[in-house]
């Protein structure tokens, strides 16, 4: 299984190592970082709450879709839970393929779908100690429907 929820710091170097393959010519990764502001407010922490009994099956469905849609060798996702501070990595996605094009497309497909479909919720804690659950991902995501591979011919 290439998905995990963790309450420990995400270490991209060790995660990348697990994807190394002599037959892969390309590797692309995405790191979601905790930034210090959102919609005009100063953010000091993010708290992620997950549904650990459901998240793996959803994540594996997303990864399976990515493997079906794009010519990739492997893909993996790790998502943090618990309290994160600015600069921490909240989510990591890694993809390998023979060629670079599919790694970019698959990586974006995976992160966009993770944001909308993985049962994880984000609460922002602000500098003034107020807090709010985020209700939607205004993340500039592409519509996943538009991320189909332009030359998709394989099953």
């Amino acid at each position: 299984m290439n998905f995990s929820l963790t309450d420990q710091a995400i270490e991209p170097t060790s995660l990348r190592r697990k994807l190394l393959s002599l037959s892969a010519g390309a590797y692309c990764s995405y790191e979601g970082w905790v930034r210090n502001h959102n919609e005009g407010k100063i953010v000091k922490e993010l708290h992620y709450s997950g549904y650990p009994q459901l998240a793996p099956s959803i994540a594996n469905t997303i990864l399976k879709e990515a493997k079906e849609k794009f010519h990739i060798e492997d893909a993996a996702v790790v998502h943090r839970t618990g309290a994160l501070t600015t600069g921490d990595i909240a989510v990591w996605v890694g993809v390998t393929a023979h060629h670079r094009g599919d790694t970019f497309l698959a990586c974006r497909y995976i992160i966009d779908n993770v944001k909308h479909r993985l049962p994880i919720w984000k609460k922002e804690i602000y500098a003034d100690d107020t807090q709010a659950w985020i209700e939607s991902n205004h993340c500039g995501c592409a519509d996943p429907k538009n991320l189909e591979h332009p030359h998709q011919t394989h099953p």
Partner: protein, 79 residues
Amino acid sequence: MQIHILYFAQLADLAGKTEESRSIDHNSPAELYANLKQSYNFPYEFKHLQVAINHQLSAHSTELKDGDSIAFLPPMTGG
């Protein structure tokens, strides 16, 4: 029948708990949610939530059985 309910995110905050068991005399997730919404002042309409029964996403119309675990999932905001 006895139903186990899991709460996440804002629903857990408003309920003041992450899970509870309730005895209900119907088998409808919609009716259960309506009762919970009233109890805890949940802000979401049922149609805006996903339903997970026994840790699997399920149709809103799925009938509950004795001993089931159910979660009403707010829009997800990971990443």
